[in-house]
């Protein structure tokens, strides 16, 4: 069971306010959606939750532990950050194997099963640089899912996907929430948020408000 609390979170970069007084509580078994235009602060919020960015003020508390003080990163996290890919010179499987070696929780068969789950061929010998945009998005999703994370932070997870791909991702995320994962999705696409999310938030110029 995971609880993530965000308390008075602010982030300023060179006098520009990126996040302003964010307060939020997220719990396992729920899907939270964050919708907003480009530049509204969604990605910065997700980077802050993932421990990649230090807040200017406020804190992120995960199961009672303060990020950047008690822990550096969220344990058992599956992460997608917009415009961040994998190593282009390796195959999809090789990329995931390199990442899986860090914590040694899963074996090669489980990696291949995850690659197949997102609709890709685990035996594909092409390097990631030869993948289409949709394939790259799928392999990035596979790296987020492969270790059965307790927390999934997904920034624009359906970017570059066609209708079939988008529907596949949505069905995977429904399975994940049934498994009990805490899922947070950021998207500029309101349809993604509407289909999947129990609780929806709108981000505007760094501020958060809950949507009806």
């Amino acid at each position: 069971m995971y609880t993530i609390e965000i308390r008075n979170l602010c982030k300023t970069i060179k006098n520009a306010v990126i996040l302003e007084d964010i307060n939020l509580k997220l719990e396992s078994g729920n899907v939270y959606g964050f919708v907003g235009k480009n530049g509204s602060g969604k990605t910065m919020l997700f980077r802050s939750l993932a421990g990649l960015v230090h807040p200017t003020s406020g804190e992120v508390v995960i199961n009672g532990k303060i990020l950047h003080k008690d822990i550096a990163f969220v344990e058992n996290l599956g992460l997608i950050i917009e415009n961040v890919g994998l190593y282009p010179e390796f195959t999809g499987f090789k990329n995931l194997k390199l990442l899986a070696k860090i914590n040694n929780k899963i074996n090669d068969e489980q990696i291949k099963a995850t690659i197949a789950r997102v609709g890709l061929d685990p035996e594909d010998k092409r390097t990631v640089k030869k993948y289409s945009l949709g394939m790259r998005q799928r392999i990035v999703l596979a790296q987020a899912l492969m270790e059965s994370p307790d927390v999934l932070l997904l920034d624009e997870p359906t970017n570059g996907l066609d209708e079939a791909g988008t529907e596949l991702i949505r069905s995977i995320l429904r399975e994940e929430v049934k498994r009990g994962a805490l899922i947070a999705i950021a998207s500029h696409d309101k349809e993604d948020i509407a289909f999947l999310c129990d609780t929806k938030y709108k981000m505007t110029a760094g501020r958060l408000e809950e949507m009806a």
Partner: protein, 254 residues
């Protein structure tokens, strides 16, 4: 790792290409291997005229190539495709120490390949065999140049992380050029000449091994670069702990 290992082994062909004229103009001598080793490494005499200093620094060409190949080793992970690896670690320090250890390993491989090639070349061009003096010279130079190459490459990486990869190289190389200049003018400016500590702490003065071949001074250079490397590692650790990871494209910084 295999790809980076292959890059580190490039030291051997790079060295051979750089020293191809010595092979081409080969004339057998009876000079000791140690003497030829120093001559091949630092392109000439141990004196400190301006021309000799410049030639000696040019002798560090292979270190420059290593800097170019590995100067963005940490930078790439932090600023492009390593974010998913970093977020899986227990902490930023785990990632950092792992990468620094890898960088040091590649430095050892590169400098070993480079110096072994020079030693074998030196041995080839003389009728004398490799003796204990040559081995001592090799080991001392290996230690000094390994730490020198490591600390310069690490500093380039840290400056690249902070300012962008282009600026990383520019900042560090400008500093090295300035320090070389200070070493050159040291004898000519009384103010500098009266502050021997300035030359003693100049990394370029310590890197060019054949300037000071006495045992105590090479020992000082070994300790100096080890301490400098340790300091750079700790400064890097502190910076990595505090920075925002991947927050902006440094190449197109606002």
């Amino acid at each position: 790792m295999k790809k980076n290992l292959m890059k580190a082994l490039l030291a051997i062909p790079v060295t051979l290409v750089h020293h191809i004229m010595e092979l081409h103009n080969y004339q057998a001598t009876h000079a000791p291997v140690a003497e030829l080793f120093m001559e091949h490494l630092f392109s000439g005499s141990p004196s400190r005229t301006t021309d000799d200093i410049v030639m000696n620094v040019i002798g560090l060409f292979e270190i420059l190539i290593f800097n170019l190949i590995f100067g963005t080793f940490l930078y790439h992970d932090l600023n492009t495709n390593g974010i998913y690896a970093i977020a899986r670690q227990k902490g930023r320090h785990t990632w950092y120490f792992r990468k620094v250890a890898e960088l040091f390993l590649y430095t050892v491989i590169w400098v070993s390949g480079y110096l072994t090639s020079v030693l074998l070349l030196s041995s080839y061009t003389t009728s004398l065999s490799i003796d204990s003096v040559a081995v001592t010279m090799f080991v001392t130079t290996l230690i000094i140049l390994t730490f020198f190459a490591f600390v310069i490459t690490l500093l380039i990486n840290l400056c690249a992380i902070r300012f962008g990869s282009n600026f990383g190289f520019v900042i560090v190389y400008l500093a090295l050029i300035l320090l070389t200049g200070l070493a050159i003018i040291n004898e000519k400016i009384p103010f500098l000449k009266n502050l021997p500590l300035l030359l003693k702490l100049n990394p370029m003065a310590n890197a060019v091994v054949n300037w000071d071949l006495s045992g105590s001074k090479t020992l000082f250079a070994c300790i100096y670069f080890f301490a400098f490397s340790l300091l750079a590692v700790l400064i890097g650790l502190r910076y990595i702990a505090k920075m925002d990871i991947g927050i902006q494209d440094r190449e197109n910084s606002q």
